[in-house]
């Protein structure tokens, strides 16, 4: 009867170890791990890109670091997992990562199927890049061209919609990795490279001769890029959302990593609240009261992060445009700390 006993034990152990995973309380998991695990791109300069020592930098990386600073008071407690466009949502829903700051466009179907979007850290739009020697000045002249793009992105769908609406013939060559798309375009497999305008600016720096290419004026879509979190964990959603808001509100209030310690003594009640000098806003989220202080001190406000990663002085050279604060003519607008 020994065998029956073994079978019974095995069954018991097997069923005990496979109870359905719980998806709530990401904050507890993050605290237990001692770090926030973020899914990022496989290398998109300005957004999430590793240097030769494996240190990640970029706008999306800063979003992740801001959350780490909010939770731990230490922006370095962040791990990065490079994910392809195709595998990113699975990694999020399966719990492999805690959040997904991976230049992901917010859409209804993604919001409904894959997770929630706590905010937008870059307002983008899809554009086209072509070789100068094609002599093309508008995307409307691209009938019959071959277009290189990424599989599993909104880009692939937008370009199909765009050419269909204009009644133009086109062929699409869709690769899985962003690097392969750029390499194929650079080798002349396609006439057109299309992705979000920020992405084009970033990838252009990787081309053999960046000056031989021109970005066409048409912007064919709205691409609000932002981090994603799993469904069913409101507290974690709020934490990510207010980490983003903190950076934008700090810029609006004139708080930067350079002047934050002076600002701490400010009489302005708004500044006192956001830095945790008065009130208990941080505790309402389950965070230390001075979480926003840690973010701005260690990561910087939104403007600093923008300038450092994608701004005019970087190789990408993007202007603030839509991403300027609402009071400066952009649409970056964060709810108040109150």
């Amino acid at each position: 009867m020994n065998l029956l006993k073994i079978a019974a034990y095995t069954t018991a152990i097997v069923s005990a170890s496979f109870v359905a995973t719980s998806y709530a309380a990401t904050l507890d998991d993050v605290k237990a791990n001692g770090a926030v695990t973020c899914g990022v791109s496989q290398g998109l300069p300005g957004f999430s890109n590793p240097d030769d020592q494996g240190n990640w930098s970029g706008l999306d990386v800063d979003t992740c670091r801001a959350v780490a600073a909010a939770v731990f008071g230490d922006a370095t407690k962040a791990n990065f997992k490079p994910l392809s466009a195709k595998t990113r949502f699975t990694a999020l829903t399966s719990g492999e990562i805690d959040m997904l700051p991976r230049n992901t466009t917010e859409t209804l179907s993604r919001d409904a199927q894959h997770g929630n979007f706590p905010g937008v850290n870059y307002y983008d739009g899809q554009g086209f890049m072509v070789r100068k020697d094609l002599g093309v000045s508008s995307a409307k002249e691209l009938g019959g061209a071959a277009v290189c793009t990424n599989t599993g992105t909104t880009t692939e769908l937008n370009v199909a919609d765009y050419f269909r609406s204009l009644g133009l013939e086109y062929t699409v060559v869709a690769f899985e990795k962003a690097d392969e798309v750029v390499a194929a375009y650079d080798a002349g497999r396609c006439d057109v490279y299309t992705t979000d305008q920020s992405g084009i600016a970033a990838q252009r720096t990787k081309l053999a001769d960046p000056s031989a290419h021109v970005i066409l004026p048409e912007i064919i879509s709205k691409e609000p890029l932002g981090p994603m979190v799993r469904h069913g964990d409101d507290q974690w959603f709020d934490i990510v959302k207010w980490s983003l808001n903190c950076m934008v509100d700090a810029e609006e209030l004139g708080i930067s990593s350079a002047n934050i310690d002076e600002m701490k003594g400010s009489d302005n009640p708004g500044i006192q609240r956001i830095l945790g000098e008065s009130g208990d806003l941080g505790q309402l989220l389950g965070l230390p009261n001075e979480f926003c202080y840690s973010i701005v001190k260690q990561v910087g406000n939104y403007g600093e992060s923008f300038d450092r990663n994608v701004g005019p002085d970087t190789p990408l050279g993007l202007s603030r445009g839509l991403n300027a604060l609402w009071k400066d003519g952009g649409i970056m607008y964060a709810a108040p700390f109150r």
């Binding site: 095995t10 199927q113 690769f175 002349g188």
Partner: protein
């Protein structure tokens, strides 16, 4: 007690744990129970987790509009087609590369395999180098080699042609452009005659074989075969007024215009070349092993009976070699078909790339899509195996 029991056979219907038969039954029942439990657990776990994530199981998504373009489709497809249609586009793209791949692999594999046994030093060495190089480099690397190092650096179509050029044969980084055959009204009659010619040739061959068996008289079928398969359809073709014309490609502003000529995309060429080069190296070794498995005594015996080298190869060596060659050859066909899913690395739109890749990403129906894809590969493999097993039954040694 043990000695007593071993002498007394257990009573009918009696139940004893010391009976090997009963114990065997219990073990088997337990194994089945555990397997069934395991499967049930996997399904239950998936169902629970899907419910927890609010994902509904179902195939309704197959009728939804896809909204993306595919670079190569053998059936009508555009962005307003459904995901179900994407499935068939991907499936056919997989099948075409697998089918052409298997045919070319067999031809090249047999040539190289025989070449390895050649007494000609040069042919022998070239064949050996072919096999040893190609089967020892990983397939994915070979695909990248053909695509990135050979096809992508080719000049662009705009560098070679001007707008409006007629393209009869053009190789560029846009792929291979060849004329598209367009059949006209009478072509089907010519085609029917061609098919009838083949059937006629087979019938004559059977008749000649039976007559030789019965009377010993030989009949040279080569001339009747040539006449029926080539001369007769050619004659019909001329009589019907050449009902087939070839339409060349036409250069547009950026690329050859769609709808003119036949454009074989570079992704297809790269994948096909890599698959054929890699797999044919294995097939060559299988063929060599098969031929060497037939002992030299057979050849000598055949010569002693007065058969010349040609008939010896055809009647003695190959039939005996085939029974060794066919079973491992089947495995290579299956490998080639399954390896075609590496297409995803170079943007060839096979089933895995467009359906398990793009559609999965857009719908999030992971369980359904992976299930369908696995079923497809399983079915293709089982059909190939069944066919090859049938063929193996025909060529294997008949034991009397």
């Amino acid at each position: 007690m043990a000695e007593v029991q071993s002498n007394v056979p257990p009573k009918k219907g009696g139940f004893s744990l010391s009976d090997t038969k009963t114990r065997g039954l219990i073990y088997q029942a337990l194994t089945i129970a555990m397997v069934v439990y395991g499967i049930w657990w996997i399904i239950d776990n998936a169902a629970n987790n899907m419910a927890a994530q609010n994902i509904k199981f179902g195939f309704g998504f197959l009728t939804t509009q896809s909204g993306f373009g595919i670079i190569q489709s053998l059936i009508d497809y555009n962005e307003s087609s459904s995901y179900g249609r994407v499935f068939f586009v991907g499936l056919l793209n997989t099948l075409i590369v697998a089918l052409i791949g298997c045919i070319l692999t067999t031809i090249i594999g047999f040539i190289v395999g025989v070449g390895r046994l050649s007494k000609n030093w040069l042919i022998n060495k070239i064949s050996t180098i072919y096999v040893e190089t190609l089967r020892n480099i990983p397939l994915l690397l070979q695909i990248f080699f053909w695509y990135n190092a050979v096809l992508k650096p080719l000049p662009g179509p705009r560098d070679v042609h001007d707008k409006g050029d007629q393209l009869w044969f053009s190789l560029s980084n846009n792929g291979l452009m060849i004329p598209k055959p367009i059949p006209e009204g009478g072509f089907w009659i010519v085609f029917t005659i061609f098919v009838l010619g083949i059937i006629g040739a087979i019938v004559i061959k059977k008749w000649a074989f039976n007559r030789q068996m019965a009377t010993g008289q030989q009949f040279k079928t080569i001339w009747t075969t040539l006449g029926l398969i080539i001369v007769l359809p050619l004659l019909a073709f001329v009589v019907m007024g050449s009902p087939l014309h070839f339409q060349p490609g036409e250069m547009g502003t950026f690329r050859p215009n769609a709808g003119f000529g036949l454009n074989v995309i570079p992704e297809f060429i790269a994948l096909l070349l890599a698959l054929v080069a890699y797999t044919s190296a294995f097939v060559a070794e299988i063929v060599r092993a098969g031929i060497q498995s037939v002992s030299h005594g057979q050849t000598e015996a055949s010569y002693a009976l007065g058969l010349r080298p040609g008939p010896t190869l055809k009647l003695i060596i190959i039939p005996q070699a085939m029974r060794v060659i066919v079973p491992p050859l089947t495995s290579q066909y299956l490998n080639l078909t399954k390896n075609s899913s590496l297409a995803v690395a170079i943007a060839y739109p096979d089933l895995v790339a467009v359906f398990t890749g793009t559609v999965l990403n857009q719908t999030g129906k992971a369980v359904e899509i992976i299930m369908m894809t696995m079923l497809v590969y399983l079915s293709i493999s089982l059909v190939t195996s069944t066919f090859m097993n049938w063929y193996n039954d025909r060529v294997k040694l008949v034991e009397r």
